[in-house]
């Protein structure tokens, strides 16, 4: 005599019962609220205010060995720029120790004979010294100074009514983000990191907790199946993740003033696929770990660190060596960061969204399959 196939009504009832149970636990456990609401908002504020590529004032030390009208006008053009906070001095040694200490971002030296050399037709050097301990900032400072110098030359030429000696000029326009505010793309990117962490951590911890407290064993002793168990865990945390996402999006729009040019339905779709991936990773971790400590450690190492470093959110994937670029394709946050930046700043650009959706979906399928294979309704 074989067992009758469990009626689908029974299965549905079991899943609903598990969802109801999980929801009650979520609502009663203050730590879930902390992880789902407080932690993401705290992280979002930190990323929003603390991480920025926008140099607010570039501190410049200006050394003029031999003041002349030319050096005077150059100094004035730097001093008048809102980008620079320039101080000038005769002796460069003070500035050098300032640069070592990180109190200034660069030194500009107009050596003695600057005007005389220029007048002779030799090209007089404007020496720029930048702090290479942060190469990115060093490059920016150099570029800004180069730009300031170009402007100064142009002004000089116009005032003197000379022919412009720089025939070709570059006119740049930054699309989607004309005011070049880095938080416009860092905030959406950080949402991906946060959601990954929260989704994976929550599921990993709650499943591990069931193993630790022995309730999983009691559940398994009833006729529940794998699908019931997985659905009973995924659905409530999916809903919770979507709520977290809504909170984070609201914060991005209304607190950080990030524009949103896509449509919310596409945002919801991308979030849904990404969350599934994150939750599945959490489930997989807890299936292998069965212990909250190991689950927490593995989630931080396998979900948070790769998302932070290899998603392209602050660090440039293109600048990494090839092996890391290849690994980054296995990091779900990579796709979501790109998708979110596009949705917020550019709009529903399907040529970006499709590949990213596909990437996440493939990873989700892999995780869920692995979880289903690894989860048995047995203990061994």
């Amino acid at each position: 005599m074989s067992a009758p196939e469990p009626a689908s009504a029974d299965r549905l009832r079991r899943i609903i019962a598990l969802i109801r149970k999980e929801t009650r636990q979520i609502l009663r456990d203050p730590s879930t609220v902390i992880i789902a609401v407080i932690l993401p908002l705290t992280l979002l504020f930190l990323f929003g205010y603390g991480v920025s590529f926008d140099a607010r004032r570039i501190e410049i030390g200006l050394v003029i060995d031999d003041p002349t009208p030319e050096t005077g006008s150059f100094t004035a053009s730097l001093m008048n720029s809102s980008l620079f906070a320039a101080r000038s001095a005769r002796d460069r040694r003070n500035f050098e120790s300032d640069l070592v200490a990180g109190r200034i971002d660069g030194i500009v030296v107009l050596a003695s004979g600057f005007s005389a050399q220029g007048a002779r037709g030799d090209r007089a050097p404007i020496q720029v010294i930048v702090d290479g301990s942060d190469p990115n900032k060093a490059t920016l400072v150099r570029n800004y100074l180069q730009g300031a110098w170009g402007n100064w030359l142009m002004q000089e030429a116009i005032t003197r009514g000379e022919r412009i000696t720089f025939p070709i000029s570059v006119e740049s326009r930054v699309w989607f983000n004309p005011e070049i505010a880095s938080h416009h793309y860092l905030v959406p990117g950080s949402i991906a990191i946060i959601l990954m962490l929260i989704g994976a951590l929550l599921t990993a911890l709650v499943v591990a907790r069931e193993w630790e407290r022995g309730t999983m064993e009691a559940l398994l002793a009833t006729p529940v199946g794998i699908i019931d168990l997985l659905a009973g865990k995924l659905i409530p945390y999916f809903v919770l993740g979507m709520i977290t996402m809504a909170l984070a999006t609201g914060t991005a729009l209304f607190v950080f003033g990030v524009p949103f040019r896509g449509s919310f339905s596409v945002l919801a779709l991308m979030t849904a696929v990404f969350l599934t991936t994150a939750l599945a990773q959490g489930l997989l971790i807890s299936t292998l770990a069965r212990n909250q400590l190991v689950a927490a450690q593995s989630t931080l190492i396998s979900a948070f660190l790769p998302s932070f470093f290899l998603s392209g959110f602050v660090f440039e994937i293109a600048g990494m060596p090839l092996p890391l670029r290849i690994i980054s394709y296995a990091v779900p946050a990579r796709y979501f960061v790109s998708g979110l930046q596009t949705l917020f700043l550019a709009g529903d650009v399907w040529s970006v969204i499709w590949p990213n959706l596909t990437g996440m979906a493939v990873i989700a399928v892999v995780y869920i399959t692995l979880t289903a294979v690894k989860t048995k309704t047995r203990l061994d």
């Binding site: 074989s2 067992a3 029974d10 407290r213 022995g214 309730t215 009691a218 398994l220």
Partner: protein, 576 residues
């Protein structure tokens, strides 16, 4: 009319990384309509056996049928027919009583009218009806146990598996549970009750006795006990000398077991040995020897063979710190409040030199709180705790140097080797140079730890963990020993060995204070205090307590009877 519910045929289950199979070639049958006791020490394979029945584990070899089905390939059908209450009851502590019941009803497809009647029946059966909206985590141990049972019984199963349902539950609740389960068997249900308590196993219709994964006995408990008739004796009137009686009995030929039971010493003889008589103790003490009916534990010890009561190799009368006359441990009006909750309320007692004093009481009654205040782990709200003449709260460090402490569960460093654990505790107690060397050699030799010195403490066999824990607690030769539930979850043989050492310490003048919820262990004490609702409700020798509840209806009360009667009397007094 009983039928076979579970048939094991040569079942073997082993786990990776363990040398011996957890279940080794077990062949047996479990019938309906009765309680089958599954007894044996921790790690004997009891839980593994239950999990195999449910298909939660897959046997490596052998054939297993549960209600005529294969528990692995037909898992969902088997789990429909079999109910299971795991250790710690499998409850969601953050759900209410009713929510827990509803969850399991949904999972087992008990709906509509069927659910209504099931809930009504179960809530009445477990007397949980007034508490349906209370969180499971806020229930007492006994109530959790009942709720666990109710959840398992939502759909009346054909077979009910209970995994150590009475562990950590006080005697009153244990008795109630027993009565409830017996009612069920009357309805034709089969029950498997796994337990480490041999007195529980003794009450079952049938018992499966496991050790090291092997089935060493199956049949009725009396079948085993009957083999022991005429081999069990009580040595009476030994009074203060009963530890000496026990120690000398241990050396007599033919004696296979001896334990202290209140004022008496219980001795069990090997099969065919000359019966014990008062003559045997002529040189030791003036005693009286009577034959007593055997009990299951006697049989268990006898069956496990190598059960010569261990004689501690600790030299009795080792040099001890000289103590002033007067009590060694003193609790004076000890009170501890947590917010508005009083965990210990004006508890007073004193313990003299060389005395074993037991703190007995249900979980949460305040015995742990009292214990912790006495060894300086908790600061009293008011009152005073003195150890070896020192005020624990004021002279904490000095007082701690004079006490040895053994925590409830194995509490040494599992990743450190035995030698490293010993070296650590020697260091912590400030033993250096030759003293340290001597102390290390002494405990290694006395507790037979030589061959395990390089083994990680976490992987030691249970008995050796116990020895190591005791070694670490006594290395600095403290005049006072504090033992917190020292033998919970330990099999009778290990327990005997442990107490042999404790007795040796006591004979050399060490004072011992022990907490226990294990009544067998309470019998080993010279005096006990029963702690209930934060107060000492009774104190005296074990026999005093038994005498205090002796009635015509109960002419020969056990300590368990005394416990239950005293607790219930106090309940009535409070209610009045």
């Amino acid at each position: 009319m009983s039928e076979a519910l579970v048939q094991f045929d040569q079942i073997v289950k082993r786990f990776d990384g363990t040398p011996h199979p957890a279940v080794a070639e077990i062949t047996t049958t479990i019938m309906s309509g009765g309680i089958t006791g599954l007894a044996g020490p921790d790690g004997a394979g009891k839980t593994t056996l239950l999990r195999l029945i449910l298909g939660l584990l897959k046997a490596d070899s052998g054939a297993l049928r549960v209600c005529g089905r294969d528990p692995v390939s037909e898992a969902s059908a088997v789990r429909d027919l079999v109910a299971y209450m795991p250790q710690r009851f499998g409850l969601y502590e953050d759900l209410t009583v009713l929510e827990n019941l509803t969850l399991y009803a949904d999972l087992r497809a008990v709906i509509g009218e069927e659910r209504r009647t099931a809930f009504e029946r179960l809530l009445a059966f477990t007397s949980l009806a007034p508490f349906t909206s209370r969180l499971a985590g806020a229930l007492s141990g006994g109530m959790k146990q009942k709720l666990g049972l109710a959840c398992a019984l939502i759909r009346t199963p054909r077979l009910l598996l209970l995994d150590e349902p009475s562990a950590g539950v006080d005697p009153v609740s244990r008795r109630e549970l027993w009565r409830m389960v017996q009612t069920l068997t009357g309805e034709g249900l089969g029950v498997v009750w796994s337990t480490a308590y041999l007195d529980e196993a003794e009450r079952c219709e049938r018992v499966l006795l496991m050790n090291d994964g092997k089935l060493i006995y199956e049949g009725s408990p009396s079948g085993l006990t009957n083999r022991m008739v005429g081999r069990s004796f009580h040595v009476r009137n030994a009074g203060e000398g009963r530890r000496g009686v026990l120690a000398s009995a241990a050396k007599m030929p033919g004696v296979i077991d001896g334990v202290i039971q209140g004022a008496n010493v219980r001795i069990v003889m090997a099969a065919g040995a000359t019966p014990l008589s008062a003559e045997d103790f002529k040189g030791v003490s003036h005693v009286e020897v009577t034959s007593v009916p055997p009990r299951f534990e006697d049989a268990f010890v006898s069956l496990l063979g190598s059960a010569t009561p261990a004689v501690s190799r600790l030299a009795a009368g080792a040099v001890r710190a000289k103590l002033d006359a007067g009590p060694v441990v003193e609790a004076k009006e000890l009170t501890r409040r947590f917010g508005s909750f009083t965990a210990a309320d004006r508890i007073s007692f004193s313990i003299g030199r060389g005395e074993i004093f037991g703190l007995l009481g249900p979980n949460g009654a305040g015995k742990s709180t009292t214990f912790k205040m006495l060894c300086g782990l908790l600061r009293p709200t008011s009152g005073e705790a003195r150890v070896a003449g020192l005020d624990v709260a004021a002279q904490t460090s000095a007082a701690r140097n004079r006490l040895g402490y053994m925590a409830q569960k194995f509490s040494l460093y599992g990743d450190l080797s035995v030698a490293q654990n010993l070296a650590f505790f020697a260091g912590v107690y400030g033993l250096t140079g030759a003293r340290r060397q001597r102390a290390l050699e002494r405990v290694t030799e006395a507790f037979g730890l030589q061959r395990y010195l390089e083994t990680n403490a976490g992987t030691l066999p249970a008995g050796f963990k116990q020895r190591l824990a005791l070694s670490c607690a006594v290395m600095h030769e403290p005049p006072v020993l504090f033992l917190d539930e020292p033998t919970s979850g330990v099999d009778p043989l290990t327990r005997r060995e442990f107490w042999a050492h404790i007795n040796a310490f006591v004979q050399s003048g060490v004072t011992v204070m022990v907490t226990t919820h294990f009544l067998e262990e309470a019998e080993y004490c010279d005096r006990i205090a029963l702690v209930y609702r934060a107060r000492v409700i009774a104190a005296g020798t074990p026999d005093d307590l038994k005498d205090s509840v002796r009635t015509q209806a109960l002419p020969d009360p056990t300590l368990e009877d005394a416990f239950i009667t005293l607790v219930e009397a106090d309940d009535k007094k409070v209610a009045a």
